[in-house]
């Protein structure tokens, strides 16, 4: 009989311990979650002195080790400046960030402030998860909006239908432009003179240069150029994936579009100045450039630190060439934003935090001296940054691109990017020469249109209040 009691006790202990544990934890959690809902409630009622009343703000982001270190430091500074605020910094791997953020939102546990990817900002804004920052930007104590490029602020506007106008839902954490990086040593050896801002190359000049720069065989093969930015080619040629007014009509069968795509593919197929698909797979254009085996590659300014550390040759940046048909050059620019949750209990503290992290002068300075980003404050960009000793030498090119040639990518303006991913998922067929640009665009147009329609339908559905 004793034994039987023992069984019962053992089993009950275990099953109840699981539940009991849950219960205890729930009680514990309840008290902490009260803190976040009502910041005035102190954590420990026994110590009701004013200094103990800390507001807790959670902030979730991703980043490289260097970026995380910088952010930790900035957050510590912020906490010193606002001593009544306690920031909890959550770091998530970038490829898992969206999954995690959505799970948290789905469970009603959205962090107070978080990174906002440019492509996905609209999704979160349309579903009412982002705090409207418009008023805050106008009247805040941390930064002067006039000292920031307007296009950067406008990047995160959304009017319920289109990105780029309306209320502000995020502040730019950084800006990255995407110039052509080139190997100065290889240029000198091949006798190629790089273009300047006032005297840009057109596509033909670029191709001629690439031909001169392509040398060697086998292991010593040096290619003139990496894969050419298709966005730049298409936009510069006056074409578009999708009509810009309504974002509803796929236009990839436009001859100007097809011409641009074919031109990019021909760099590899006809002229042999760019690595083939299988060569790219084994060693990316980017790594090939770092090893000095590629003369020109499109890369973002987030790579500066890597180039400083790992390139043992001289390099610089230049503008993307203009299309000979239109005489203009366009390229996208990238940015990650910082948003505040619409459900935050402490909008003011959260807004101040993201503004501090985005526009703090020290943070900007740290970012550029560490090679993570270029400054977003105009006075700093045109002031001290120009005298910064590390490459690129032609820093003015970066800001010329930002001011005159950069735009928000079309795929970032649509509600989701599935149509764009679908377009890219088979594009190798063109770059391998299995299909011409014309055949490819015609074959895939209907599918793309369908996905774009889905994207717009989804936007309409989600934006419904």
């Amino acid at each position: 009989m004793k034994k039987k009691i023992l069984i019962v006790i053992m089993c009950l202990t275990f099953t109840l311990s699981a539940l009991g544990l849950a219960g205890c934890k729930q009680a514990a959690k309840l008290s902490t979650s009260d803190d976040s809902i009502e910041p005035k409630v102190t954590e420990e009622p026994a110590e009701t002195t004013e200094t103990e009343e800390k507001t807790k703000v959670t902030f979730m982001g991703w980043g490289t080790d260097a970026e995380i270190t910088t952010f930790k430091e900035m957050i510590a500074q912020y906490e010193t400046k606002y001593p009544d605020i306690d920031v909890e910094y959550i770091v998530v791997a970038d490829n898992e960030f969206d999954t995690k953020l959505q799970t948290m939102i789905g469970a009603g546990q959205c962090p107070d402030a978080f990174y906002s990817h440019i492509d996905r900002m609209m999704k979160y804004a349309a579903t009412g998860n982002l705090y409207d920052l418009t008023d805050y930007v106008e009247n805040n104590e941390i930064f002067d909006p006039d000292n920031v490029w307007e296009c950067l602020i406008n990047l995160y506007r959304f009017d319920g239908n289109m990105q780029g106008s309306g209320s502000i839902y995020a502040l730019p954490k950084d800006v990255s432009v995407f110039p052509v990086f080139y190997n100065v040593d290889l240029f000198k050896a091949a006798g190629v003179t790089p273009p300047t801002i006032d005297n840009p190359w057109d596509w033909n000049d670029y191709l001629e240069a690439a031909k001169k720069l392509t040398t060697g065989e086998g292991e010593n093969k040096i290619y003139g150029t990496g894969a050419y930015s298709l966005e730049s080619a298409v936009w510069s040629n006056g074409a578009e994936w999708v009509d810009q007014e309504t974002l509803t009509k796929v236009k990839i069968d436009d001859p100007a579009f097809i011409q641009a795509l074919q031109w990019c593919a021909d760099l590899r197929l006809v002229h042999g100045v760019a690595p083939s698909a299988s060569e790219t797979e084994s060693l990316s254009d980017y790594d090939r450039f770092k090893q000095g085996k590629l003369a020109m590659v499109g890369a973002g300014t987030w790579s500066l630190a890597d180039f400083w550390a790992n390139c043992d040759f001289e390099w610089d940046v230049m503008n993307w060439p203009v299309s000979p048909n239109t005489g203009k050059s366009e390229i996208w620019f990238g940015s990650a934003g910082l948003s505040v949750s619409s459900t935050t209990a402490n909008p003011e503290a959260a807004c101040n935090l993201i503004a501090y992290l985005s526009f703090n002068e020290d943070a900007q300075r740290t970012a550029y001296t560490m090679g993570q980003a270029i400054p977003m404050l105009k006075d700093m960009a045109y002031g001290e940054y120009m005298n910064f000793e590390k490459p690129p030498a032609s820093k003015e090119v970066l800001f010329d691109i930002l001011e005159n040639h950069a735009r928000l990518a079309t795929q970032s303006r649509t509600f989701n990017q599935e149509w764009f991913n679908e377009f890219n998922s088979n594009i190798d067929a063109v770059f391998n020469g299995e299909m011409t640009a014309q055949q490819y665009c015609e074959s895939i147009k209907d599918t793309i249109q369908q996905l774009l329609d889905d994207s717009n339908a989804q936007k309409a559905e989600y934006s419904k209040k």
Partner: protein, 278 residues
């Protein structure tokens, strides 16, 4: 032991040898790469013995990542799960194999369905549950559910215990033992070899768990080792330090490997003794 040397044996031996080489090469390659300088990774033909041997990754890894915390948390999780899950699962297996109670088969089939539904869709509901009971950003979501049962182990031990004579239970009852002490004093000790084997498998599964810790914990202090390693790989894709990643992977494998080598004997022998019949 006397061995006939027949041609068949030689052929089989050679096949097994080739197999063994393919099994071990990736690990040797990982070790070799982890000792290389970053730029030596891209050489053709591949270098097996790096020149120079570069140990710096093994030093750098501890500062470049959150590995130490990861190992600590993984240990906490693994040990708790091992202790509790072995207990609960063997108890359930005992009940399924030796006792008759209502809905026995229905319950068993129900359990089997738990491994048929993809975890990804249960993620959000689970997150809600864990939020409600305050488990988010603690190690509990990795510990408690896993401690309550593991269907594979129940399945496995059930097969094993079915093979043990039922008479032992009847005898125990006559001697005045309750069901629990029949389980605790008689069947559990008899299952020891099978349990040791399962402990290793369970440790492997728990140690290698990635998705749960990723979603249910936030702070660095709660990351497990797999998340800490994945963080190394996730930084902007273009800038991957292959030797460093290989070092981290190797360190992640090491604890299981050591445990496995120590328990090798039990691992193989115990399965042999279990006489599982599917």
């Amino acid at each position: 032991m006397k061995r006939k040397i027949s041609p068949v044996r030689i052929i089989v031996f050679i096949i097994l040898l080739i197999g063994a080489v393919t099994m071990i090469v990736p690990f040797a390659w990982m070790l070799s790469t982890s000792l290389k300088e970053a730029n030596l990774v891209y050489t053709i033909p591949p270098q097996w013995i790096p020149k120079p041997v570069d140990w710096k990754n093994y030093i750098e890894i501890w500062t470049a990542s959150n590995l130490l915390t990861g190992i600590k948390n993984s240990c906490i999780i693994s040990v708790s799960v091992l202790v509790f899950c072995t207990f609960t699962s063997s108890m359930a297996a005992f009940a399924f194999s030796k006792l008759s109670f209502p809905f026995k088969n229905a319950i068993f089939v129900m359990l089997l369905t738990t491994i048929m539904v993809p975890l990804v869709v249960l993620l959000v509901p689970l997150f809600v549950i864990y939020t409600k009971i305050g488990w988010i950003d603690t190690l509990l979501p990795m510990i408690v559910p896993a401690s309550m049962c593991n269907i594979n182990i129940i399945f496995f031990l059930r097969q094993y215990m079915t093979g043990l004579p039922k008479e032992l239970l009847d005898a125990a009852k006559i001697d005045g033992c309750g069901y629990f002490s029949a389980y605790w004093r008689i069947y559990l000790p008899l299952c020891k070899p099978a349990i040791v084997a399962n402990v290793i498998m369970l440790f492997m599964i728990t140690w290698n768990d990635y998705f749960g810790p990723l979603v249910f914990t936030h702070s660095e202090s709660k990351q497990n080792i797999q998340v800490a390693i994945a963080m190394l790989n996730s930084h902007y894709i273009q800038q991957t330090d292959i030797p460093l990643m290989m070092t981290a992977s190797l360190i992640a494998i090491l604890p299981v490997l050591i445990l496995f080598i120590i328990c090798q004997k039990y691992f193989t022998e115990s399965f042999a003794m279990t006489g599982i019949k599917g």
